[in-house]
């Protein structure tokens, strides 16, 4: 996957989890949780979806890396480029 693919994949996953939130204006370098209502269970859902759909395992120690959209793309790029 390219960086663009990864970004839209993440947005797709988030949209399934919080369908009532508007994701179109999400800024890449600001914490996602500061822009939309996303609680810790929603965040866990993202982790579970990434594993279920793409077999990507994000260890708990790395959760911080997924705080922003840009951070998520950077973190997932090496892990998803073969997909």
């Amino acid at each position: 996957m390219t960086r663009e693919d990864i970004r839209s994949t993440i947005l797709e996953v988030i949209a399934d989890i919080v369908p009532d939130e508007d994701l179109s204006a999400l800024t890449g370098d600001v914490r996602i949780r500061d822009q939309i209502e996303l609680d810790s269970m929603d965040f866990l859902d993202i982790i579970m979806e990434l594993r279920k759909r793409y077999g990507v395992e994000v260890p708990e120690d790395d959760y911080m890396e997924l705080a922003t959209l840009d951070g998520s793309v950077n973190y997932l790029e090496p892990r998803m480029k073969e997909i």
Binding site: I17, S40, M41, D45, R51
Partner: protein
């Protein structure tokens, strides 16, 4: 009988879930969605655990633990169950308090509480706002040394009325006291206060649990009721399956939704753990139990709308010990109107009080019956204040005690809300001690109640799925 009841289940599963409380059911459903083969073993004849109901002569159906839960349950049901279950959730708008210190009705959300605290209690607006910002900002990783009592003292020194308003409903909801960590109060209170108190409409607990069962079967989960797990099999320091009806069913992972302490002590056995872990286990305190009185209004008879949930007390001030006393001064009444079960068109009232197991466990048969009778009589007297002439409108009344809760759920000491705060770490550390063995269910206040239990089921399912991929 051995073996008979087990003939339609497989000899091996990816995961066996012991217990079908909300945590066990939700965990099983998520694991099935992760394409794991799952078996649920439940000792009782019904699914649901404490999320339960029972039918009585006269057309009555009583709900045991459906008094109200946080708005978050809507999202949890939508994400981990079905949109239909989520859509049946509605807000309970009439939450009433009535005690010697104050009496009013509230929608139980931040805005209304802010109004009450500033208008009725004359607390400056800045302090109220500051308090709500503080409790909402609390999270699990914060300082755990501050107690709830200290938190209140910081914001509202000397104000026992405010403490009662903020604490009494939460003590009812999860048995917590002023000595419990402030963060556990903050998290639970913020959950409730974020949007008010909610319940299911258009069918009670039986409908919800029935819908969950349908979903589990659709997702391929095998379910066995009336099947108490006897032992979690440990081989080479990890799990190998579960013994039920004297027979071993193999599995790579086991999730126990039974009581945390009895899981470790009876289902697994202390001998399988490190001494250090058992030391921690022995420090875990069990939460209090409950008494309830179920009051059935005759078919065709009506009662006025007096609110949905009434926190009543005749005690001069809030005292978490007094709330558990057998000499009852405080009762929570849940009033069920026909909206709950439109198909029956009937009304009922369930009175709940916190209770100590020890006060009920060692009575003689006769003392026990007499105590139950007294509980029923004093409850009807108390209810008469809110529904005058109630005795003339009912045709069923019965009581449940800590002994009742113990026998239906096998919880140690009939615990209504699992364990105190320290239980959470032990529950979470279980798979580190014994790979493949997991626990889910009421522990540590945060993970209890309908919402907490269901969410903990998801958290455990995630850990199990991760483990099975190794």
């Amino acid at each position: 009988m051995a073996g008979d009841g087990l003939k339609d289940i497989k000899s091996e599963y990816d995961v066996i879930v012991i217990g079908s409380g909300l945590a066990g059911l939700t965990c099983a459903n998520m694991l099935a969605k992760f394409d794991r083969s799952v078996l649920i073993l439940e000792q009782h004849t019904k699914l649901g655990g404490l999320a339960t109901w029972f039918k009585r002569k006269g057309g009555h159906i009583f709900d045991v633990s459906l008094h109200g839960f946080p708005a978050g349950m809507i999202k949890t049901c939508r994400k981990y169950w079905t949109p239909e279950i989520a859509k049946s959730i509605v807000q309970l708008k009439g939450i009433r308090f009535d005690n010697p210190q104050f009496s009013f009705s509230t929608t139980f959300d931040v805005n209304d509480f802010t109004r009450i605290m500033t208008d009725n209690f004359k607390i400056p607006r800045e302090i109220v706002d500051d308090f709500f910002v503080t409790v909402r900002g609390m999270n699990f990783y914060d300082d755990q040394t501050m107690t709830t009592g200290e938190l209140f003292n910081k914001f509202f020194p000397g104000r026992e009325d405010v403490v009662r308003l903020l604490m009494e409903p939460i003590t009812y909801a999860n048995g917590s006291t002023l000595d419990d960590p402030a963060i556990s109060y903050g998290i639970v209170f913020s959950n409730f206060m974020s949007k008010g108190v909610y319940t299911f409409q258009g069918g009670g607990t039986d409908k919800v649990v029935g819908d969950m069962e349908t979903e589990l079967i659709k997702n391929g989960v095998d379910i066995k009721t009336g099947s108490p797990a006897e032992k979690i099999v440990i081989e080479n320091k990890k799990t190998a399956g579960v013994v039920v009806n004297g027979k071993t069913i193999k599995s790579n992972a086991v999730v126990s939704n039974g009581n945390l302490i009895s899981t470790i002590r009876n289902l697994i056995g202390y001998e399988n753990f490190s001494e250090k872990f058992i030391e921690e286990v022995k420090k875990v305190r069990i939460n209090n139990s409950s008494c309830q009185v179920y009051i059935g209004i005759k078919k065709g008879e009506k009662i006025d709308y007096i609110g949905d949930l009434l926190f009543t007390s005749t005690a001069e001030k809030f005292d978490s010990k007094a709330l558990c006393s057998k000499n009852i001064t405080s009762r929570t009444f849940s009033i069920y109107y026909p909206a709950t079960r439109p198909e029956t068109g009937m009304y009922s009232v369930v009175s709940s009080t916190n209770a100590n197991y020890q006060d009920w466990a060692y009575l003689s048969g006769e003392e026990y019956r007499a105590s139950k009778e007294e509980l029923i009589e004093s409850t009807l007297n108390a209810l008469d204040k809110y529904l005058p002439g109630i005795r003339g409108k009912i045709d069923w009344v019965e009581a449940a005690t800590p002994k009742t809760f113990e026998s239906y759920t096998l919880h140690v000491d009939g615990s209504s809300f699992g364990t105190k705060f320290e239980g959470l770490k032990v529950s979470m550390d279980l798979p580190t001690e014994l790979p493949g063995v997991f626990h889910t269910g009421s522990v540590g206040i945060i993970m209890s109640g309908w919402l907490g239990a269901a969410n903990y089921g998801v958290i455990t399912a995630n850990n199990v799925d991760k483990y099975l991929r190794l």
